[in-house]
């Protein structure tokens, strides 16, 4: 069913009887042209663009739980394209442009809200770094504004501007950045892929990958063996484990990143704001809760929950930036598992195993990348070659010294 005013009117008079499920629940076929492992945002987007842009419809997406049960349902919904380095700038801007047309494209309300992303700075050095970043963005045709203290005060007057240690001097604003309803992104892509013939197989865990004379032939799953010509892994959080089934060792560690939401309050914060003096970012959801997060816990973890020291650390930074929130109650917290790559940038590439493709290493920036990630991965799988936009996200860049180290943190998975 196509959603729009006419379907609303029809359903208003027809009751809910005519509301169809958004996607089918098919039985696995014995073989597919392409199998995507991972029914999160990236896997579903990949299947969607495979069908839509490349006409490859004999595709299955295998999800070990239910669709969107991984990190796409466990993030803080922020989208932006305020990157500095060549490779990242173009890729994330492509993603931003896809976000801007997403709802019309897949005919689903994902609540794309370009409310602006504001990064605060607290020193001359930080201002210079943001000026450089903003200039790099504008050279690529991306919007960026460097605000002084008064410019920030006009937008967010209740920040602690006169913090004794970290006074706020200004900020870098990308007005086109903002938030998107994360679950709806998974649902919209799932529905769009399903309607183009993609089989979405839930509760279907991959337990083995068959490789015969250097070529992928299929996967063993909890719902039986499925043969395929091409296999794409989009299993962020568990990439090391799925890649190991095909004998690959990756430059990745899995870490937990926690996020939090407060009780709902009246409209308070219009933008996404990040604190330059500590790791903290916050926005207000449409339900009224403040959604925020900070650093990863910092040690390897597959547990979808964090530990208390980071809770304390994040809330300290938040209260330092926004003293007015100190009496809010915390409604809940959750943890998602991140593929922390060794340079902080993702990998979308073919692998040394023929027919096996890899999409991983999103660190904690995977959500904003969802559309472009699916777009590029679909291209890489369908054409057997990377798109220009992911040509720098190669797996062998570590071996060759062509790392994309946006943070300048070096080869440390727990630094990005």
């Amino acid at each position: 069913m196509r959603y729009g005013w006419h379907s609303i009117v029809k359903q208003a008079f027809g009751g809910l009887a005519c509301v169809a499920p958004a996607w089918r629940e098919p039985e696995p076929k014995p073989a597919y042209d392409v199998v995507i492992v991972g029914g999160g945002g990236h896997g579903l987007a990949t299947a969607y663009y495979l069908a839509k842009e490349h006409g490859v419809a004999n595709v299955a997406v295998l999800e070990k739980g239910y669709l969107g049960s991984g990190s796409v349902g466990r993030n803080t919904t922020i989208v932006r394209s305020n990157y500095l380095l060549d490779g990242n700038v173009q890729f994330y801007e492509k993603s931003m442009q896809l976000w801007e047309g997403l709802e019309q494209d897949f005919n689903f309300n994902a609540m794309v809200s370009q409310r602006g992303v504001l990064n605060l700075y607290h020193s001359d050095a930080q201002r210079d770094a943001y000026a450089r970043r903003g200039t790099a963005m504008r050279l690529h045709g991306i919007d960026a504004e460097l605000l002084n203290r008064e410019g920030v005060r006009a937008l967010v007057p209740f920040l602690d501007f006169d913090n004794a240690r970290f006074p706020i001097h200004g900020g870098l604003l990308q007005r086109r950045g903002g938030t998107v309803r994360h679950d709806a992104v998974a649902w919209g892509y799932a529905r769009g892929a399903d309607s183009r013939g993609v089989d979405l197989l839930q509760n279907c865990e991959v337990t083995g990958i068959s490789v015969e004379s250097g070529r992928v032939t299929g996967v063993e799953t909890s719902r039986g063996r499925i043969a395929c010509t091409k296999l794409g892994l989009a299993t962020a959080g568990n990439s090391s484990r799925t890649a190991a089934m095909a004998g690959l060792k990756l430059p990745i560690e899995s870490h937990v990143l926690q996020a939090f939401v407060s009780e709902a309050i009246k409209p308070y914060l219009d933008q996404v704001v990040t604190y330059g003096a500590g790791h903290f970012y916050v926005s207000q959801s449409d339900k009224g809760g403040l959604v925020f997060g900070g650093d990863i816990d910092g040690y390897n973890s597959y547990a979808q929950r964090g530990n208390l020291p980071i809770v304390e650390h994040v809330i300290e930074a938040g209260v330092a930036m926004l003293p007015g929130v100190s009496r809010l109650r915390l409604l809940r917290s959750w943890g998602g598992i991140m593929d922390m790559s060794m340079d902080g940038s993702p990998i979308i590439d073919k692998t040394p195993v023929e027919g096996l493709y890899l999409n991983c290493g999103w660190c904690y920036g995977g959500f904003k990348a969802t559309p472009a990630s699916g777009w590029c991965f679909a291209h890489t799988i369908a054409r057997d070659a990377p798109h220009a936009l992911n040509a720098k996200f190669r797996l062998d860049r570590f071996r060759g010294g062509r790392v994309i180290d946006e943070r300048g943190g070096g080869a440390r998975p727990n630094l990005h």
Partner: protein, 92 residues
């Protein structure tokens, strides 16, 4: 998470700084096979389950420890002095 320091006893994990996977072995010489350096610097087994990692007790005795921890449950199995682990490994 509580870590049992051999010198200080059971302490909260925020007294410690973690420095990642304790399994990669640094190549003996700078001239070693570039593949060995690539493996040491970038590649990780990243297991779900038991994992050996370095923790330093910076808020206490400052000793470097090798902690074996379960990455799925956060359960801590063993804590050893990194020095003892290195001596045992090198047979000295």
């Amino acid at each position: 998470m509580l870590i049992s320091c051999p010198f200080c006893g059971s302490r909260a994990s925020e007294e410690f700084t973690v420095l990642g996977d304790a399994t990669p072995r640094r190549p003996e010489t700078p001239e070693a096979d570039p593949e060995a350096w690539y493996d040491y610097i970038y590649l990780r087994n990243n297991p779900r389950g038991r994992h050996r990692e370095f923790w330093q007790h910076v808020g206490g005795c400052r000793a470097w420890l090798v902690v074996e921890r379960d990455t799925a449950t956060h359960e801590i199995h063993t804590v050893e002095l990194a020095r003892d682990v290195a001596r045992k490994r090198d047979g000295s």
